[in-house]
């Protein structure tokens, strides 16, 4: 029955097909039809099928170009309360501050009567701010790959993620950076390249005097102190003729002119105004705190041998540098060649146990004379795990003496002698790197090489005194280091562990304390 119905339905369709064939009979094609087809065949260009490779390449190029342009877009920003001159200089009025708000959350507040330019970096990487005149407060959000910089006259600041104030008085040639958070690299004028500034520090530079000073604040400046500083600066700018050689608490202490040779100045805290290290007079002993790049020298016998200055006799002589140095913390400078200055004069190096292999510094020579990378002493590589016997037993023994890890170290003096009378009372080493237990070691001149005094689990920036160093720090016992005067070598050790580990760490700063 079902088959019959299906056959019948099929038959119906066939009948309908016959009907359609009858209703729409075929006709002979018109002779003119071919002429039209031939004409269109002649007109037809290359088919898309043949062109597709070229089209694909063209599309790819267009897409890549468009993508590149999109990605290359600089960071967006919004400028409030600033006027834009035809030469591209933004300016604030004397009535109110201006603000630049960037898309990534970074923000620049510009004080009244300031002038600046904005150079936007491609790929949204950041901005190059050229401060023509005035004060600015920067709060830069840290982003990987971002590059922010501030150019003020000849001075240059490289920023990562931080908050700081910058001031540039173009006519007076005075430049000041006050750090609130993070750190920046400053260069230009008398400032050595890649000079680190950290939170709480204030750098003041005088272009005319070819000098600069770094002051440490006991605590981060408050908004009130910043405002006060601004006012003082304006007052100072208004009366350039009244520059005092040393003006306590003045934001821009006028510094007496010294020789044209670039000199680094050591500065006291805000409570101790910056003072100039006088030019060395032949035959006179050098101050105990070395200037950058200074060769090895012996410390003076006593403070009474204060050097003469080369400043004009009429000018008041600044406080004795030794006193100033002892009274303030000092930041050790990492010279380009790996030679330290400003407190230490020895060279930096990297040492390692047997189980360490290095990525950087790659060569033995580069490890023996460790040069700073972007102002930091760095090392990276791998440390193999300790090999132990009698594990978990009282007589457990590991090959610690041979595979002890890696250490970034430095001699106190260039001649590898003990630090001597110029030794500081305390020190703080700033470093960053893989999370691990680091150890700060000190070695006394004359002791066997394997005898060290150490502080286990040392934290970056931790201020330590000699009494905190123990000869068996891992057990928190042993002899105590009496002072730093007999110490000839320090290092920061990344210790080996029970398993293979990759390391990378950098010593970013050493601060010496009185």
């Amino acid at each position: 029955m079902k088959d019959k119905r299906e056959a019948s339905a099929e038959l119906n369709c066939q009948r309908l097909g016959d009907l359609a064939g009858l209703a729409a009979p075929a006709e002979a094609p018109s002779p003119g039809a071919w002429a039209e087809i031939a004409h269109r065949l002649d007109q037809r260009g290359p088919s898309l099928r043949r062109l597709w490779p070229a089209l694909a390449v063209a599309s790819l190029v267009v897409l890549c170009t468009a993508g590149y342009l999109v990605v290359r877009r600089p960071l967006g920003y919004r400028v409030v309360d600033c006027t834009l001159a035809a030469d591209g200089v933004f300016a604030t009025t004397s009535m109110r501050e201006g603000t630049i708000a960037f898309d990534d959350g970074s923000r620049i507040s510009v004080e009244q009567d300031a002038r600046f330019r904005l150079g936007m970096l491609p790929f949204g990487h950041g901005s190059d701010i050229r401060l023509e005149e005035g004060d600015a407060h920067l709060a830069v959000v840290h982003r990987p790959g971002a590059r922010w910089s501030v150019q003020a006259g000849p001075f240059h600041i490289d920023v990562t993620g931080t908050r700081f104030d910058v001031r540039w008085a173009r006519q007076l040639g005075r430049f000041q950076v006050t750090m609130l958070e993070g750190e920046v690299l400053v260069a230009g004028g008398a400032i050595p390249p890649a000079t680190h500034l950290r939170a709480g520090q204030t750098l003041r530079a005088d272009l005319r005097a070819s000098s600069f000073a770094i002051a440490n604040a006991q605590s981060p400046p408050t908004a009130a102190t910043r405002a006060g500083a601004t006012d003082s600066a304006k007052a100072s700018s208004a009366e350039p003729a009244k520059q005092a050689p040393v003006a306590p608490r003045a934001p821009h202490p006028a510094l007496p002119p010294i020789s044209s040779r670039k000199r680094t100045e050591l500065a006291a805290c805000d409570e101790h105004p910056a003072a100039t290290i006088p030019e060395q007079v032949p035959g006179k002993p050098e101050p105990p705190w070395p200037t950058p790049g200074a060769p090895t020298r012996e410390p003076p016998a006593a403070n009474s041998t204060a050097p003469q200055t080369s400043t004009p006799p009429a000018s008041p002589t600044p406080p004795l540098p030794t006193v100033v140095a002892k009274a303030a913390s000092v930041h050790v400078i990492f010279g380009e060649s790996g030679q330290l200055a400003n407190g230490f004069t020895g060279e930096a190096s990297v040492e390692s146990g047997d189980g360490t292999s290095f990525s950087t510094p790659a060569s033995w020579d580069a490890r023996a004379h460790l040069r700073p990378e972007a102002g930091q002493l760095c090392a990276s590589g791998t440390v193999s795990g300790l090999v132990c016997v009698n594990e978990n037993l009282p007589k457990m023994h590991c090959n610690w003496d041979r595979n002890w890890g890696v250490a970034i170290g430095w001699y106190a003096r260039a001649d590898h002698k003990a630090w001597g009378d110029g030794a500081a009372g305390g020190l703080a080493v700033e470093f960053h790197g893989r999370s691990a237990s680091y150890r700060l070691n000190a070695h006394r001149k004359g002791d066997p090489k394997e005898k060290i005094y150490c502080i286990d689990n040392y934290k970056s920036g931790q201020t330590v005194r000699p009494s905190m160093f123990k000869s068996e720090c891992w057990f928190d016992k042993g002899d105590t280091l009496p002072d730093f005067q007999q110490v000839d070598f320090f290092n920061l050790q990344f210790s080996s562990g029970m398993s293979y580990v990759a390391f990378r760490y950098c010593v970013s700063g050493i601060t010496l304390l009185p």
Partner: protein
């Protein structure tokens, strides 16, 4: 030099090389057309123009001159001739492209009808034999019914029941396996017969199930 000029004779122009004789088989025509021989293209058109026109007319129903659609069919044939793996299968290739172009035209018409650019049906004076008004009315009803089918079903109906193609040809023309074509046709037959019930004209034409009368 003067001597040479005086002795120079004017030679008659060289006769043009005789064009090779055209192989009028499908294989020969396809090969020649692929080589760019315009005579082969003309020969293909001459050979299949009637078929193409018939397929297009029967697919789209009685209506205006479908010269533009037929033209499009041949342009597409010549454009895609390189895709023809078996030159001997030229006829199936032509049928496949004709039905494909007709399907596209059908869809285009439907969209135009939806957006109101053209009336849903274009049925000018149907070219039915004189004195067969009843058949003409039935043909109108048939194309109304076919208009309710999808373009794919309509194409299957044309190939199988109007052009009387074998199952394997239908499958080849629609790029499907014979078993798939068979299944689709079976469903199509049911669908057409179901819709047939709602058309008294067609019911009268085909008569009770399986008892359709002859024209």
């Amino acid at each position: 030099m003067g001597i040479a000029l005086s002795t120079m004779v004017v030679l008659p122009p060289l006769p043009e090389p005789a064009a090779p004789e055209l192989d009028d088989s499908d294989v020969g025509l396809v090969r020649a057309a692929r080589a760019g021989d315009r005579r082969a293209c003309f020969a293909i058109w001459s050979k299949y123009a009637a078929l193409v026109r018939r397929l297009v007319c029967r697919f789209l129903g009685p209506g205006p001159d479908y010269a533009d659609v037929c033209q499009e069919v041949f342009l597409r044939i010549f454009k895609r001739l390189d895709e023809l793996r078996e030159p001997a299968a030229l006829r199936g290739f032509v049928v496949s492209i004709s039905l494909g172009v007709a399907r596209n035209e059908s869809r285009r018409r439907r969209i135009r009808a939806i957006v109101g650019l053209v009336p849903d049906e274009i049925f000018p004076a149907a070219p039915t034999p004189p004195g067969q008004d009843e058949a003409r009315e039935a043909a109108r009803a048939l194309y109304r019914l076919l208009g309710t089918l999808s373009a794919e079903d309509r194409s299957l109906f044309v190939a199988r029941f109007i052009e009387k193609m074998e199952l394997i040809e239908v499958a080849a023309a629609h790029g499907m396996s014979p078993s798939t074509a068979k299944r689709r046709l079976a469903r199509l037959v049911v669908r057409v017969n179901t819709r047939l019930q709602s058309s008294p004209v067609l019911m009268e034409y085909v008569g009770p199930l399986g008892q359709g009368r002859d024209l």
